[in-house]
């Protein structure tokens, strides 16, 4: 538990998985401490080691090694542990398609897929994604061939300003994959975490219904 995450591995490499679990655990603890404050951390949770607690990378002094895959591209990084997945994508990897709407997990604009699951990237520290596969809006199309959901959004005009759109698309794809797009009402329920101030909701519902009903692979 006291090892540093190795971090320099291949996300697709099996040997990374144990490192990943270790890293996940350790980083979870770091995050808990950063949030709760040391005085609230139960001592025995760390094996009763006060010395260990002092080694935790608090503040801004330490860089943490991290390896992850984004849209199929592997990245080996050394990052400030305070960096959220959202800020990593936008500010360091130049992937600005993932949007910052609220930074509090309340609007869904930052939705990405982590190992196939929809995740709010603003609520996730980048270092928690060690060894994981991230898909962002930039990775949804197959080269120049748009994803069926992207085509359907254009056809049904499922957006106006376009700012919430990447998050809507990532959620919409996940919604169909999760089997929660069975009816308009079900879609409304399972998409309600993605806000749209322009009010494109009815058009997006129609887009998702069409993709679902066409049985296209998403």
């Amino acid at each position: 538990m006291q090892e540093k995450p190795q971090g320099a591995g291949d996300p697709d490499d099996e040997s990374l998985k144990s490192d990943q679990r270790l890293a996940d655990r350790r980083l979870f603890l770091q995050q808990s401490i950063a949030i709760a404050g040391l005085s609230f951390a139960p001592g025995n949770f760390f094996g009763g080691s006060e010395a260990f607690a002092e080694e935790l990378p608090l503040g801004d002094a330490e860089k943490v090694k991290l390896a992850l895959s984004v849209n199929g591209k592997k990245h080996r990084l050394s990052i400030d542990p305070r960096v959220t997945l959202l800020n990593l994508l936008r500010e360091q990897l130049g992937l600005t398609g993932t949007k910052k709407g609220c930074d509090f997990g309340q609007c869904g604009a930052c939705t990405v897929h982590v190992d196939g699951q929809r995740v709010l990237s603003c609520l996730s520290f980048a270092v928690m994604q060690h060894g994981r596969k991230i898909t962002t809006i930039e990775g949804l199309a197959d080269g120049n061939q748009l994803h069926p959901m992207q085509e359907a959004f254009i056809k049904h005009d499922g957006f106006q300003c376009g700012y919430c759109t990447p998050g809507q698309l990532m959620s919409a794809v996940a919604c169909v994959r999760e089997g929660q797009a069975g009816s308009e009402d079900e879609i409304r329920e399972y998409m309600s975490g993605n806000l749209c101030r322009c009010g494109a909701y009815p058009n997006i519902v129609n887009a998702i219904m069409e993709v679902k009903n066409n049985g296209q692979k998403v």
């Binding site: 398609g97 005009d157 409304r188 009815p202």
Partner: protein
């Protein structure tokens, strides 16, 4: 449902910027790849009034990565700020808030310092280390408690021709003498735009006297002028880029203090600075729809003819600046009534200045007026739609002018038919479905026509492509798509070969995107520019010997010029340029209003029919069905227009049922400061919406016969919902939003 709508207008264009928007390549203000970028965060006041005693920034300044902590103590200063104390003059009475100017605090959430660091994480951490000492003064932020202090705005007192002067026509005693009277007070709380994209800017000084900003705003030209004035720069030395704007709804009409703060920081550090407002700051930094109280008194004859309408409105503004809106103006023009009196007052409070929010003033005023009309119809035992038809204004009763065009009766008819209004049982609580109380409500809508001088450049190049340019904006409605459609129809070139450029201050002059003025203004400019380009191309073609092209026979279609009598002949546009040895043909044209403004009264009209279901147990209101119908002249592109109308309804649902910015007056601070506490409509709140357009050109307003759509889409929606709720429950809610505790 959608399929049917699409078939109504098979030629409708998909959004021309659809692909970048669905692939994440559309670049918004905070997303430009600028080298050597520093990141910043604002620190805002935690008191509503008083002065800063001290700022302890030592720990922050020593924190890793920090480049500067900027406040009034060390700001390089904004040379264009007026030196006077606030509130100062002249108009708009007062002075826009001056960032980092002095130690005075005017509202809670006022920017007082800024941390700039190498990374956002470093800036955020350093900001947490700053402590600020305040001397607290007593503040007044409670609108209701201070209402008696409202007064005629100073700017109105000084302007005899202000539309906000007390107004009257006819007999002031008419209300007292009316056979049937209703009198009520309507309240709309402060509501916030909250576009999904937070306001953001990247400021880059390209030299001592040259500034480039990537800024979220609704008008690159006005932002350019404003920043040039603030920093005493030549206008052409300020470049404002805003190609993609993630919604605004009015919040981007002005250049706000945070924009100036980022420019100041970039100047001080001599390197590019990015500032993105956190969602909490979006409640105190970029304006809001002001808290407004309205009193309406309506008199009518027993047979349902309006005899008197008195409308008083009071809106909130800041302590340092006046903001006025059209709140009471619609009442003068909406219905045929001989005796109408209006008053408008302002209340200064220790808050930030409000601003225009979708349907400014009219969305507010028409909530009160159209609710009151419904109350009167109920009192008279007349169907609400019938009552409106009986009092239809055939000419503008305020200006005594003919309407440029008005198809409101057709809107009523089309909307009522589609909705099934005839199935409405008149008595409240008389309709039920699945254990829910069912209510049918309707309201009228209007919005004044705005057209500003605009220029457009149109360039045809030998490759066969067209570029049209104007410094207009797209905050979401699909400006580029509509302009492409206009150009395509005139030039006979397929939309795929046309590119429309906007959002760049170096392009030909255009107004900002507000007041539903883009299509009327810029659409007209694109129209005249493309007509001029077409004329030029036809002339060039007619000069080519052997083609026998006749000036009165020539037309352009599919990129070819030919005689109407011989579609197989003619010449391609590219070959016309080749023959003349030209790489491109270019025109720039301006379009603006003329004398027609004094000959006609120009408005858009419309109506909304809404069905709500209300739980008799919990009071929960669900909007189940909406039919909205608008007469906005010619529809340029049905698909994007329809989306804009749907968006207006969604905004109206928020305004009516959930949006309220709540302040804790002990501190003068909003307790609703995120999307968990400030509710905007989600998927489950917005049903499928039927959109109908009369789609007849208004030949008097401009060359394209088209009026704007953005505002009229929301005006009246809140009243239609409130009226439906009354019909469902028998409870008249006059204080928005209509939340459950008001119904149980």
């Amino acid at each position: 449902m959608v399929q049917k709508d699409l078939q109504t207008e098979p030629e409708s264009l998909d959004r021309v910027d659809g692909r970048p928007k669905v692939t994440g390549t559309a670049t918004y203000s905070a997303e430009y790849a600028v080298g050597n970028l520093a990141h910043s965060v604002l620190i805002t006041s935690t008191i509503a009034k008083g002065r800063i005693k001290n700022i302890n920034a030592k720990a922050a300044e020593e924190s890793p990565g920090v480049l500067a902590v900027i406040s009034h103590l060390n700001s390089p200063g904004v040379p264009g700020y007026p030196p006077a104390k606030q509130p100062a003059e002249p108009a708009p009475v007062g002075t826009a808030f001056r960032v980092f100017y002095d130690e005075l605090i005017y509202f809670n959430g006022q920017p007082v310092a800024m941390v700039v660091a190498e990374t956002l994480e470093q800036a955020n951490h350093a900001a947490s280390l700053i402590t600020i000492g305040y001397e607290i003064a007593t503040h007044q932020t409670d609108f209701e408690a201070n209402l008696s202090k409202s007064a005629v705005a100073l700017s109105v007192q000084r302007s005899k021709n202000s539309p906000f002067q007390d107004y009257g026509r006819g007999n002031p005693e008419a209300f007292d003498a009316a056979e049937v009277k209703i009198e009520a007070t309507y309240t709309i709380p402060t509501q916030h735009h909250q576009p999904m994209e937070p306001h953001a800017i990247i400021a880059v000084w390209e030299g001592e006297d040259k500034l480039t900003v990537y800024d979220k705003n609704q008008g690159v030209k006005s932002a350019q002028g404003n920043l040039a004035q603030a920093f005493k720069l030549a206008r052409e030395n300020v470049k404002v880029n805003a190609q993609f704007i993630g919604g605004a709804f009015g919040s981007g009409i002005r250049v706000w203090p945070h924009t100036v703060a980022a420019v100041l920081a970039a100047k001080k550090l001599k390197r590019p600075v990015k500032l993105v407002l956190g969602r909490e700051l979006m409640f105190t930094s970029v304006g809001y729809r002001p808290y407004t109280v309205q009193k309406i008194a309506i008199g009518a004859s027993k047979n349902g003819i309006l005899t008197a309408m008195n409308h008083e409105g009071t809106g909130q503004t800041s302590a340092y600046e006046e903001h006025l809106e059209r709140t009471i103006l619609a009442t003068r023009a909406m219905y045929a009534c001989p005796n109408v009196f209006t008053k408008y007052r302002l209340l200064n409070l220790d808050v930030n200045t409000p601003t225009w929010m979708r349907g400014p003033g009219d969305a507010t005023g028409m909530f009160a007026l159209e609710s009151a009309l419904d109350e009167m119809a109920f009192a008279l035992h007349i169907d609400p739609l019938e009552f409106r038809l009986q009092n239809h204004a055939d000419t503008d009763p305020e200006r005594n002018l003919p309407w440029s065009a008005k198809s409101l009766k057709e809107c009523y008819e089309l909307g009522a038919e589609k909705f099934g209004w005839k199935n409405r049982l008149p008595a409240p609580r008389s309709m039920q479905k699945d254990g829910m109380l069912v209510g049918y409500g309707m309201a009228s809508s209007l919005y004044g026509f705005h057209r500003h001088p605009s220029k457009a450049r149109a360039v045809f190049s030998r490759k066969g492509s067209v570029v049209v340019q104007s410094a207009t904006m797209d905050i979401g409605p699909g400006t580029g798509t509509a302009m492409t459609r206009i150009a395509s129809k005139i030039l006979g070139v397929s939309p795929g070969k046309i590119r429309f450029d906007l959002g760049d201050s170096s392009l030909p002059d255009a107004p900002g995107q507000n007041g539903s003025s883009t299509i009327p203004s810029v659409g007209s400019a694109v129209h005249v520019a493309c007509e001029a380009l077409k004329t030029k191309l036809l002339k060039l073609a007619s000069e080519i010997p052997g083609l026998n092209l006749q000036p009165d026979q020539m037309t352009i279609k599919n990129g070819r010029i030919f005689n109407l009598t011989d579609a197989s002949g003619g010449i391609s546009l590219s070959d016309v340029l080749k023959y003349h040895n030209l790489e491109q043909v270019e025109v720039t044209e301006e379009s603006k209003s003329g004398a027609e403004r004094d000959q006609y009264s120009m408005y858009s009209f419309g109506c909304h029919f809404i069905e709500v279901h209300v739980s008799p147990l919990t009071g929960e209101v669900r909007v189940k069905r909406v039919v909205t119908c608008a007469d906005v002249g010619k529809i340029i592109n049905y698909k994007t227009a329809r989306s804009q109308s749907i968006g207006g309804i969604a905004g109206g649902i928020g305004m009516a049922l959930m949006e309220a910015s709540v302040m804790d007056h002990r501190f003068g601070r909003y307790i609703t400061n995120d999307f968990v506490s400030y509710h905007i409509p989600v998927y489950a709140d917005v049903p499928q919406i039927d959109v109908i357009y009369v789609d007849k050109p208004d030949v008097h307003v401009n060359p394209i016969g088209s009026k704007g759509l953005g505002e009229i889409a929301i005006v009246g929606v809140a009243a239609a919902i409130a009226n439906a709720v009354f019909h469902a429950t028998g409870k008249r809610v006059r204080d928005l939003p209509i939340t459950v505790e008001k119904l149980i």
